[in-house]
């Protein structure tokens, strides 16, 4: 199996995730796109671990999975807070920080 297969799949997933982050308006959908990006990175880490015959990549992938779980928890907490205050989670309406 070629390393390029895994790395290209990771690159494609990463770009789809970036597109989702830029194009989506709903905050929950943006968080889903961030999950796509994190999974693409994990795929690369596991492929490199296989390439070098070393488990360090697996350890990094596990740590990334744990951080992603924490990120989703806090992110959805923030989204719920925004929804409770504004009755909407459209990201382009959150413009209080513009002067």
């Amino acid at each position: 199996m070629l390393a390029v297969n895994f790395l290209l799949l990771g690159a494609v997933l990463f770009c789809i995730g970036v597109f989702g982050v830029l194009a989506r308006r709903n905050a929950v959908m943006v968080l889903m796109s961030v999950e796509l990006i994190l999974n693409a990175v994990n795929l690369n880490l596991v492929a490199f671990a296989l390439m070098h015959g070393n488990v360090d990549g697996h350890v990094f992938a596990l740590y990334v999975i744990a951080v992603a779980a924490a990120e989703v928890g806090v992110g959805l907490g923030l989204v719920l807070l925004v929804y409770r205050n504004r009755r909407s989670i459209a990201l382009d309406e959150l413009s209080e920080m513009k002067g």
């Binding site: 070629l2 390393a3 690159a11 999950e35 994990n42 795929l43 806090v74 923030l78 382009d92």
Partner: protein, 181 residues
């Protein structure tokens, strides 16, 4: 297609990889384009399950199990709760995308994909991953969970402890943020 037929390559493994990769890319495109929030979450389940299958192909069984437990088990439930609590419409919904989203997102994504693909192919064009026999005989990553435990508990112990605090802080922070006063 020339990649699939390279010398010294296990054909069945490559065909499996190709099928799963195709399904994953299609599902990921559906995640970022569908007009239904709940459908997007369900397409995301397919992507995550495909990633777990690729981990199994890459001889990372323990990571694959963790992926299924954490992502498909826990994170997806969180997402569905988030969708439910923000009262998303069941069914098609207008206004999920930015007005200028396609015009901004598509060029950025395509240019980024071009750059990444060029860099990856330039650097790792002929790199063949070790097959099944080499993995089990070399002993490198054969004893997978044991080796992972050895790594987590000795060289990567400090990041592991930091990660525990991150999870604790995230749990408490999420409760504080979402609590009704």
């Amino acid at each position: 297609m020339s990649m699939l037929a390279a010398a010294g390559v296990n054909v069945a493994q490559n065909v499996g990889f190709g099928i799963i990769a195709g399904v994953m890319i299609f599902a990921a495109l559906c995640v970022v384009t569908t007009r239904n929030v709940v459908h997007a979450a369900l397409w995301l389940v397919i992507v995550l399950a495909g990633v777990a299958a690729q981990y199994v192909l890459a001889a990372a069984e323990f990571v694959a199990i963790s992926q299924v437990l954490v992502y498909i088990g826990a994170v997806m439930v969180l997402f569905l709760f988030g969708i439910m609590l923000t009262r998303a419409q069941i069914g098609r919904e207008q206004g999920l995308n930015n007005n200028r989203g396609w015009a901004l997102g598509l060029p950025v994504a395509v240019v980024l994909l071009g750059l990444l693909a060029y860099a990856v192919i330039d650097a790792f064009d002929d790199q063949v991953l070790p097959g099944e026999n080499e993995i089990s005989s070399a002993g490198g990553i054969a004893a997978n969970p044991t080796a992972i435990a050895d790594n987590v508990l000795s060289p990567y112990l400090v990041p592991f402890l930091a990660l525990s605090f991150v999870l604790l802080a995230a749990a408490i922070g999420a409760i504080v943020l979402a609590r009704k006063d």
